[in-house]
């Protein structure tokens, strides 16, 4: 895909930031499961946390392709940083921009777009993953407030976010049509952060439980109409999948580059292992799958900027990119051999980080459901 000059400059900028400021801490935040609060703040200052938010709300007013490029560049050195952006921009801020009232946009978006506050998206529950209609969270209107009770799991940015998109049933009898979306602030009474997850990958990101206990949420914080929550969630996830696809492409690219470097320098039987055709073909396939994933992802990003509906493109990009990332990173470890299984090289981290892209914001199986639903409709 041909990139505009603006897009190239944003890509360069994200790469410079990733290499200068993120790469030096990537292994450390992974090893110590440390949230990179300082670089997260810098991402805000650089406009990466408000990339696609319009300027009137203190965003940068960039397009989705630029956003995809930035996420990819960060994931190329550290998937944790890319998911902080992706969860914040695509899942936290985007639904307010798309479904929020003017008051809600003015109140919440400037803090999110500038990165002064992080945001998170609370849909998954222990008993309601893909099956969103099984939500136990419940919102009951009492006077000017909804009283929400429930808990969510696996919430990215959970312990560091201050603004949450929270889904709860306002009418259990209506199933999916009984779900509503709310903007919940960290400071609301009854809000708390529960268990912090200890994960296989993206170890620097904060993944927590979010608990609302008799939490009073002002009526004005209903996002969209009552009963529209499922629509809000699904359309938000369509956008989110472009972020995750970009992340997967970046992880694959990082692993590919590491494998190429290693293959050229590792000497066995008197020659670099890259001189072996078996290994060359492996690298060729890794490069090709990565590039195919990249093109599908940029195509989906362009679709979001130019088409009213882009769910099919987003699902295809996310499915393909996630599976490519898993495959490429596994091969990258293989290229490294025994040392690749240790923390001396970043490829084992890339492999652990890749796995989540096949799971969150819709598993690969859900993507296939979405794709099938689209092509059979």
């Amino acid at each position: 895909m041909f990139l505009t000059e603006d897009q190239k400059l944003i890509q360069n900028m994200a790469r410079e930031f990733a290499e200068k400021e993120v790469a030096p801490i990537a292994a450390d935040i992974d090893k110590n499961h440390r949230f990179p609060a300082e670089t997260a703040k810098k991402m805000g200052e650089l406009g990466l946390l408000g990339l696609t938010i319009p300027e009137e709300y203190e965003g940068a007013g960039g397009d989705t392709v630029s956003y995809s490029l930035a996420v990819e560049e960060l994931a190329r050195v550290c998937a944790t940083h890319s998911v902080i952006i992706s969860a914040h921009v695509s899942l936290g801020a985007a639904p307010i921009l798309k479904f929020g009232t003017d008051e809600q946009k003015k109140k919440y978006l400037p803090d999110l777009a500038s990165g002064r506050k992080l945001s998170a998206f609370c849909l998954t529950e222990p008993g309601a993953g893909t099956d969103a209609a099984s939500q136990k969270s419940e919102a009951v209107l009492k006077g000017d407030n909804y009283i929400i009770n429930g808990s969510k799991v696996f919430i990215t940015n959970g312990a560091y976010a201050e603004t949450f998109i929270y889904f709860a049933m306002t009418d259990k009898s209506k199933g999916l049509k009984g779900i509503s979306a709310f903007i919940v602030e960290k400071g609301f009474p009854g809000f708390s952060v529960g268990q912090v997850e200890d994960k296989l990958g993206i170890c620097g990101s904060s993944t927590t439980e979010i608990i609302l206990k008799d939490c009073a949420v002002p009526k004005a914080n209903l996002l969209g109409k009552e009963g529209e929550g499922f629509k809000v969630a699904m359309q938000t996830l369509d956008g989110g999948r472009i972020g995750i696809a970009s992340q997967a492409v970046g992880i694959a690219q990082g692993a590919l580059e590491a494998a190429i470097t290693y293959a050229k320098q590792r000497v066995q039987f008197g020659k670099p292992i890259s001189a072996n055709q078996g290994l060359q073909w492996m690298l060729a396939d890794m490069a090709t799958r990565t590039e195919a994933a990249r093109q599908l992802t940029r195509h989906a990003a362009l679709a979001k900027d130019t088409q009213p509906r882009f769910g099919l493109e987003a699902a295809q990009a996310k499915l393909f990119a996630a599976e490519a990332a898993m495959w490429v990173t596994t091969k990258a470890v293989q290229v490294h051999g025994g040392i690749g299984y240790t923390r001396s090289y970043p490829v084992e981290r890339f492999m652990r980080d890749a796995k989540i892209t096949e799971i969150y914001e819709g598993t690969s199986e859900v993507q296939r459901m979405v794709i099938a639903g689209n092509i059979l409709a």
Partner: protein, 258 residues
């Protein structure tokens, strides 16, 4: 202070330059042009100066054989506008020619109070443009500037020299050449990048700079550009760490270095 000009060079990123092992020639194919890293500190010095004189115009200035693609990148780093002089004849320009062209552009701009150059460029690192430009313009030259403060049209500048720091005062107009430690050069934000297209970039010709084609003919004939042969042995001591360390220590002890 009304007008501040910052000169920058559009140079190849030397991190991506490879050497052909056999011919010792440089392989520039993978190297993309970028704003000379030293000049990024110069541009930020301009931004900081303009912050003190908000009504002043901050102008980026460059010249070379193919510098038009540099303008957005430069504008994202703070200038209000860029004046660039693109001319294929400048492909082999040395400091003699470049400083004449830059001086011509500064004269074309007119009434420039402070011209900011950086200490050098990452390709030739000749460190000549600032003082040359000053001499051609008849402006005072202050080089190796590590700190800038301003009171009206009087600049107080710290120069970092081998012997120590020399603090000087000088009245504008002046050409200053700044060292990288004068200030940090921040990475431009997405907003600054996207805002760059709203700012103008003006193309100039040699005639605008008051120069004839003859005036920029290269003085210098380049005979060859080759990577020097490394005289170092580059002995690989192996991947087995204890074994490699043992070999190294033996070797260094043998050379009397321990």
């Amino acid at each position: 202070m009304k007008k501040i000009a910052v000169c920058y060079k559009w140079v190849l990123n030397d991190a991506d330059i490879r050497v052909n092992e056999k011919s010792r020639e440089l392989d520039l194919e993978k190297s993309k042009p970028q704003i000379n890293e030293y000049d990024r500190n110069g541009l930020e010095t301009g931004v900081k100066l303009k912050a003190l004189f908000p009504e002043a115009e901050l102008v980026g200035v460059t010249c070379g054989p193919d510098v038009e693609p540099s303008t957005k990148d430069a504008l994202s780093r703070g200038p209000d506008t860029v004046y660039f002089l693109n001319d294929a004849a400048l492909a082999e320009a040395d400091s003699t020619t470049t400083s004449k062209v830059l001086a011509g552009i500064v004269r074309h701009l007119g009434n420039v109070d402070v011209v900011i150059c950086s200490e050098g460029s990452s390709d030739v690192y000749a460190q000549q443009n600032g003082p040359r430009l000053a001499a051609l313009l008849g402006y005072p030259s202050v080089s190796y500037v590590s700190a800038v403060s301003v009171d009206g049209d009087v600049l107080t500048l710290d120069r970092k020299l081998e012997q120590g720091t020399e603090t000087v005062t000088v009245k504008a107009p002046v050409v200053i050449s700044v060292s990288p430690d004068v200030c940090d050069a921040p990475i431009p934000s997405v907003k600054q990048i996207l805002g760059a297209k709203k700012k103008p970039a003006h193309a100039l010709t040699l005639a605008d700079a008051g120069l004839s084609a003859d005036a920029v003919k290269p003085l210098i004939t380049v005979n060859s550009v080759k990577a020097p042969l490394s005289s170092r042995k580059a002995v690989n001591l192996g991947e087995d760490v204890p074994e490699a360390v043992a070999k190294l220590v033996k070797q260094l002890a043998g050379e009397g270095l321990l």
